[in-house]
């Protein structure tokens, strides 16, 4: 014990760890009416940590070559000790992370946490979501299964609908006219290095914004007052708030543990929910499976493309929606954040969620 204390004292003297922890944990005060939705950010980070760790383990045995990729994943699943667990946690965790990220964004949207002065926090958060989808798409191809091959073929085919540059864009993305070794090489590089690098930078920027400006006050309760315009930077503080540690950390631990339980539960008892039969058959460019559907989070987008008679309009509509959401803080500039006082916004929000869920279900059964 005495040795431990000496080591901590030694480090503390040089880095001021105790002071740092005190200022960022016990003395870091959060709004008194903070709710459970605020813990989804921490849950996302925890789940991404699982992705990162399992991803490194998979990288040890995975071979990014069309001749060996499927066999290497089969070996991970069947020959490497606990390889199946690592692979399932990675594949199923990816789905859970998208779910949590979506909920995190929806809660921020509903509570209008994107409004001034938190425009950049929203912008970086939205870009994190897009990069996450990019990581999911690129990761989907790597096992080189029938599902990987054909889902990627269908997904990249949509590039063709982009006027003028569609075909060259598709060639660059695939590295050829069809999905093949060059596509696998590109997607592998993006999945394990390119996108995680961008992701890391975006997460750092997002967390910096959260910490620098301060957590937004939930727009509920009798004490809440809309933000007053200020021309100078102001860190939002809550002198009468609750300590981040241990008070709110307990809630974050509960939420993180819940989502980890969900991930392990599916991993051990129902992995087929996220891994259809074609995920276990090696890719065959000459045999098109009967029912190839994208992952659940792309189903709405897939259905939009099917609904429009022209694929270009489908892409255009999605582009408009994404651009609108990305720049929402600069479009919706009113100061009012209370949902009860924003009926049009709430109606649009509900319509958007119902539309997304409806299109997803439609896409699944279509």
């Amino acid at each position: 014990m005495a040795i431990n204390k000496k080591i901590i004292d030694y480090i503390d003297l040089r880095l001021g760890i105790r002071d740092l922890l005190q200022k960022n944990l016990t003395e870091y005060l959060l709004p008194r009416n903070i709710n459970i939705w605020y813990s989804l950010g921490a849950a996302t980070i925890a789940l991404f940590a699982v992705q990162f760790i399992t991803g490194i383990f998979l990288l040890i045995y995975y071979i990014p070559n069309t001749e060996q990729a499927f066999a290497s994943v089969q070996a991970i699943m069947n020959e490497i000790p606990y390889g199946w667990l690592i692979r399932y946690l990675h594949a199923i965790g990816a789905n859970v992370v998208v779910l949590v990220l979506l909920l995190h964004m929806l809660s921020a949207l509903f509570m209008s946490a994107y409004k001034r002065p938190r425009e950049f926090t929203w912008l970086f958060g939205f870009l994190i979501f897009m990069v996450t989808l990019g990581m999911c798409l690129t990761g989907y191809l790597l096992p080189w299964s029938q599902l990987s091959y054909w889902a990627t073929t269908v997904a990249t085919d949509t590039m063709n609908a982009v006027p003028l540059i569609g075909e060259p864009l598709l060639q660059v993305l695939r590295g050829g006219s069809a999905v093949g070794q060059y596509t696998l090489g590109r997607f592998f590089a993006l999945h394990v290095m390119g996108l995680p690098l961008i992701f890391g930078l975006l997460v750092s920027a997002h967390l910096f914004c959260v910490r620098r400006i301060g957590v937004s006050r939930p727009p509920f309760g009798p004490d809440y007052r809309p933000w007053e315009p200020n021309d100078e930077f102001q860190h939002e503080e809550y002198p009468d708030g609750i300590p981040f540690f241990p008070n709110y950390t307990a809630e974050e631990v509960a939420v993180i543990a819940f989502f980890l339980a969900l991930t392990t539960g599916i991993t051990y008892f129902a992995p087929w929910i996220f891994l259809p039969s074609d995920a276990f058959t090696p890719a065959d460019p000459f045999v098109t499976p009967e029912h190839i559907k994208p992952e659940w989070y792309f189903l709405a987008s897939y259905q939009i493309l099917k609904v429009f008679p022209n694929e270009f309009f489908g892409i255009l509509v999605q582009g408009v929606i994404i651009t609108f959401l990305l720049f929402l803080p600069w479009i919706d500039r009113t100061h009012e954040r209370r949902p009860a006082k924003r009926p049009i916004f709430v109606a649009l929000f509900v319509l958007g969620v119902v539309g997304f869920v409806g299109l997803t279900i439609w896409g699944h059964f279509s």
């Binding site: 008194r32 089969q74 699943m77 069947n78 199946w84 692979r87 399932y88 060639q171 660059v172 695939r174 590295g175 050829g176 006219s177 069809a178 093949g180 070794q181 060059y182 590109r186 609750i242 241990p246 008070n247 709110y248 307990a250 809630e251 974050e252 631990v253 509960a254 939420v255 543990a257 819940f258 980890l260 339980a261 392990t264 539960g265 991993t267 051990y268 008892f269 992995p271 087929w272 891994l275 039969s277 995920a279 276990f280 460019p285 000459f286 045999v287």
Partner: protein, 281 residues
């Protein structure tokens, strides 16, 4: 800005040569390409073949009829290119037997094979041609068999095959369930495929006694596969026990965290009330 543009240009120049090199053309079958657009007897086979066991296993037109499916001219169907065309009734067993060698051997020796050309049945009478499905015991039925002879002996053979056939079907289902969760089942599938083919070959002898004599050996070989399947299942059960424990522990952590948060909330509330009272005083 200029630097960014140059960087993008460099990236595209770097990627494009790969794009050109990597272009692959998927080989297309001229048989399907031309015949799928035809009407009647020239087009029907393509439609019938879709969804057949042959199509599932990548056996296409040229595998049986010969010819060159890479040529999109009439030359694809020339004898020089190995085109065999449509076989006569008598030629059908040789036609199918070019792949199903063992079955042909047993068929030729059987009463069915001996009667070929004298009204005896050949392969497509029972199995159909282009829409051929996985052979099941249902192919032996009163309606089909009584077209030529009494059902009695056929019924006996069906009965003798039934138990083993059911074991094979059950094993196939179980192996498919294992495959569905990522277990490597190729070896087990291969064994079952081989046993199944050899067992079904037995029928073509149309010899009840032979079927009965060899059934035990087939069942022993199937038992070996069953043992393999059970070993995997046992491991899966162990996994589920560990999974249940891990999930339960995480849920417990979630509940404890939630209870702890509730406790802190009560403290926060009490502190707030105390502060308000002090302010009032």
């Amino acid at each position: 800005m200029k630097n960014s543009f140059l960087l993008l240009l460099f990236a595209l120049l770097f990627l494009f040569p790969c794009a050109v090199e990597a272009q692959q053309d998927a080989p297309a079958s001229s048989c399907i390409g031309c015949h799928s657009g035809m009407q009647g007897r020239l087009g029907e086979p393509v439609e019938q073949w879709q969804g057949s066991i042959h199509q599932e296993n990548g056996i296409s037109c040229s595998s049986c009829h010969g010819g060159d499916p890479t040529l999109f001219t009439m030359e694809a169907m020339s004898p020089e290119k190995g085109f065999l065309g449509v076989p006569s009734n008598e030629e059908i067993p040789e036609f199918c037997g070019s792949c199903h060698v063992g079955v042909l051997e047993d068929y030729i020796k059987s009463a069915h094979g001996q009667a070929l050309g004298e009204g005896g049945p050949q392969c497509v009478i029972c199995h159909g041609n282009h829409s051929v499905k996985t052979a099941t015991l249902e192919l032996i039925n009163q309606e089909s068999c009584t077209q030529c002879h009494e059902y009695g002996r056929a019924g006996e053979i069906k009965e003798a095959l039934a138990e083993t056939d059911q074991i094979i079907l059950n094993l196939e289902d179980d192996i498919q369930t294992l495959h569905r969760i990522g277990i490597a089942t190729d070896e087990m599938k291969g064994k079952i495929f081989s046993i199944r083919n050899q067992f079904h070959r037995l029928f073509h002898t149309v010899d009840v006694q032979k079927v009965r004599n060899e059934t035990e050996d087939f069942q022993l070989r199937l038992q070996e596969v069953r043992t393999q399947v059970e070993e995997v299942r046992s491991e899966l059960t162990d996994r589920k026990v560990i999974g249940a424990a891990a999930t339960a522990l995480l849920l417990l952590a979630a509940v404890l965290g939630w209870i702890l948060r509730r406790t802190y909330k009560k403290d926060e509330e009490q502190g707030r009330v105390r502060k308000t009272k002090e302010q009032v005083r």
